[in-house]
C-alpha cells in the first residue's frame, strides 16, 4: 500500500457494458473472476483521470467498458480482508500498454465464494452511490 494514499483516495474500475443496466453497475464488476486470480484491477486516481483510465482500458488494451466507477481506500478497508496494492504493469513488447497507475484489490485472503460476493456487493453499492465518473458519449 502506498504511503501517499488516504482513506479518501479513489481507485477507478472499468465496467463491461453487460455489467451495467440502467446506469447501475453490477456487483459482477467488483468481484474478481477466475481469470483475475483473485486480483481485481483498478487504477490509482492520483495518477490518471477517470477518462484517462477509460481510454487506456479501451483504446490501449482494446477492451470494452461502459464507463469508469470508483471505490475509495476506506471502502475497501471497510469490506475487510481485502488488500489494495500498487501493481504497475509493464509490457516490454508493447510499451503503449504500460500502466503506471495500475493497482489491484487482492481478494485472496477471503476464502469462500459467498464471502467474496459479499465484498463485491459492498464495493458495488459504494461505487453506485458515488456515480459514474466518466462515461463515453454515445
Amino acid at each position: 500500500m502506498s504511503a501517499e494514499w488516504t482513506p479518501d483516495s479513489l481507485f477507478y474500475r472499468q465496467v463491461h457494458p453487460t455489467h451495467r443496466k440502467d446506469g447501475v453497475p453490477s456487483s459482477q464488476a467488483f468481484g474478481p473472476t477466475p481469470k483475475d486470480e483473485d486480483k481485481l484491477s483498478v487504477d490509482d486516481s492520483a495518477k490518471v483521470s477517470a477518462e484517462e483510465s477509460w481510454r487506456h482500458f479501451t483504446e490501449k488494451l482494446g477492451f470494452q467498458s461502459a464507463g469508469t466507477w470508483a471505490v475509495s481506500l476506506g471502502e475497501v478497508a471497510e469490506a475487510e480482508d481485502l488488500v489494495l496494492e500498487a501493481s504497475p504493469t509493464v509490457h516490454p513488447q508493447e510499451p503503449a500498454k504500460n500502466n503506471p497507475a495500475h493497482c489491484h484489490i487482492d481478494f485472496s485472503q477471503v476464502s469462500s465464494k459467498g464471502q467474496k460476493k459479499k465484498r463485491a456487493q459492498q464495493l458495488a453499492i459504494k461505487a453506485t452511490a458515488r456515480g459514474c465518473l466518466f462515461q463515453p458519449s454515445a
Binding site: 453487460t18 455489467h19 443496466k21 453490477s26 459482477q28 477466475p34 459467498g114 460476493k117 453499492i125
Partner: protein
C-alpha cells in the same frame, strides 16, 4: 385445356425458389383481378357514358399452372367458368394500363388515364412481398419487366393518399378494449399508441392481456402507415401471440450474442441450451409481482439476476454447471448478509426469499 395466359407474372425471391406460391401471394393476385375489372369498367364508362348490364359478368382470372423461374403463375381469363378466347377490349387495355403504372419509375409522371381512386388497389397488390422480393409483371420483356417492389408499391399507394397499408409485426401492451366495436389500443414497445381492430377469436386473449404490463401481445396482420412509415393503426389481425415477461426474457436472450472471450479475452459464452431453459423457466414461474432484475452474465457462462437498492444488492446466480440457484444478498443498512442455495427447481423458495429481502 390450355390457352395463352392473360398475364404470367414472375415472383422473385428466395421464398419462391421452390416454384410454389405462398397463399398470401394469391391474395395479391385476387386484388389484381379486382383492379383489372374495375379499371375496365372505368374505361367503358369513359367511352360510352355507362357500363352495359352484364359487361364482363362472370369474368375472373384463374391460376392455370405455376411455371419455373422463380415462380410464374399463369393467369388465364375465364368467363362463367369457361376459358375466354376473346376478351372485351377494355379488359386487355386495363391490363396494359396497370402495367404502365407499375412500370413508372420514381420521378416519372404516372399515366394520366389511370384513375386516382384505383391507386389504392396497390394497398393489396404486392402486399405479401417482403424486403428483397418483387413481382415482374412482364418477365419476358427485353426493355421493361414492369417490376413491383415493396418500395414501388408504397410509392404507388401514396401517389394520391397520405397512408398506405402493409403487413405489420408489432408487439406491445393492450391498453384498452372495446368489446362491442371490436377495437382497442396498443402501447407498442416503442411507446407509441396504436389503435387496432380485431375479430372474435382473439377476444379472450386480448382480454387476458388487457392492462397486464407483464403480458405483451404480438400482432401479425395489416397496418396502416403514414408517409414517414409510422404505424397509424392495425386494421386486421391475422395472428396473435401472448408473450409473458418480454423484458426479462429479452434480457436473457440478448446474452446469446456473447462469444467466448467476451470479458477481456476471457469469459465463456453461455450455452444456448442453458439460456433457452432459463427463458422457459422465467415464462413458467417468474412471479407476477416481483420486480424485474438486471440480467448479468458471469465469466464462467452462468447468469445472474441482480436487484439493486441504494443500500442493498441481491443476486440470484443461476449456476448451470452445478445445476443450482445461489442467493447472495448484502444490506448495508441492516448489516445483513444472506447466502443460500437452492436446487435448480427451487425457484418458488428463492423468489419468495428475494421478495422479503427487497422490502427489508
Amino acid at each position: 385445356m390450355t390457352q395463352e395466359p392473360f398475364i404470367q407474372p414472375r415472383f422473385v425471391g428466395p421464398r419462391f425458389d421452390g416454384h410454389t406460391l405462398p397463399l398470401s401471394a394469391a391474395k395479391d393476385l385476387a386484388a389484381y383481378e379486382e383492379l383489372v375489372l374495375e379499371l375496365a369498367k372505368h374505361l367503358v364508362r369513359q367511352r360510352h357514358g355507362r357500363v352495359k348490364k352484364g359487361f364482363a359478368q362472370g369474368f375472373s382470372l384463374h391460376i392455370e399452372r405455376i411455371d419455373d423461374g422463380s415462380a410464374k403463375p399463369a393467369l388465364v381469363a375465364m368467363m362463367l367458368g369457361t376459358l375466354l378466347p376473346d376478351l372485351p377490349a377494355e379488359i386487355v387495355e386495363a391490363k396494359d394500363l396497370i402495367n404502365s403504372v407499375i412500370a413508372t419509375e420514381a420521378g416519372q409522371p404516372f399515366p394520366t388515364d389511370f384513375p386516382k381512386d384505383c391507386y389504392s388497389y396497390f394497398n393489396r397488390i404486392g402486399r405479401s412481398l417482403e424486403e428483397g422480393e418483387s413481382i415482374e409483371w412482364l418477365p419476358d420483356s427485353p426493355t421493361n419487366k414492369t417490376v413491383l417492389t415493396p418500395v414501388k408499391r408504397k410509392r404507388l399507394v401514396l401517389a394520391h393518399r397520405e397512408t398506405y397499408e402493409a403487413e405489420v409485426n408489432v408487439a406491445g401492451l393492450v391498453e384498452s378494449l372495446d368489446a362491442k366495436r371490436r377495437t382497442g389500443t396498443l402501447s407498442s414497445l416503442e411507446n407509441q399508441t396504436v389503435a387496432f381492430a380485431f375479430d372474435d377469436p382473439f377476444f379472450s386473449e386480448l382480454k387476458e392481456a388487457l392492462g397486464n404490463k407483464r403480458l405483451t401481445v404480438n400482432f401479425k396482420g395489416i397496418g396502416v402507415f403514414d408517409v414517414n412509415d409510422r404505424l397509424n393503426s392495425i386494421t386486421e389481425i391475422d395472428q396473435l401471440e401472448l408473450l409473458p415477461h418480454v423484458e426479462l426474457v429479452g434480457g436473457i436472450e440478448s446474452l446469446a450474442e456473447l462469444k467466448d472471450g467476451w470479458l477481456e479475452g476471457g469469459g465463456k459464452a453461455p450455452k444456448p441450451e442453458d439460456l433457452s431453459w432459463l427463458m422457459n423457466e422465467v415464462v413458467r414461474i417468474f412471479p407476477a409481482d416481483l420486480e424485474y432484475p438486471a440480467v448479468v452474465p458471469t465469466e464462467d457462462g452462468s447468469v445472474v439476476f441482480e436487484w439493486s437498492r441504494p443500500q442493498a444488492r441481491i443476486e440470484l446466480e443461476i449456476n448451470f454447471a452445478e445445476q443450482k440457484l445461489e442467493l447472495y444478498a448484502t444490506n448495508l443498512k441492516t448489516k445483513q448478509f444472506v447466502e443460500e442455495s437452492y436446487s435448480q427447481d427451487g425457484w418458488t423458495d428463492a423468489f419468495g426469499k428475494i421478495a422479503t429481502l427487497l422490502v427489508a
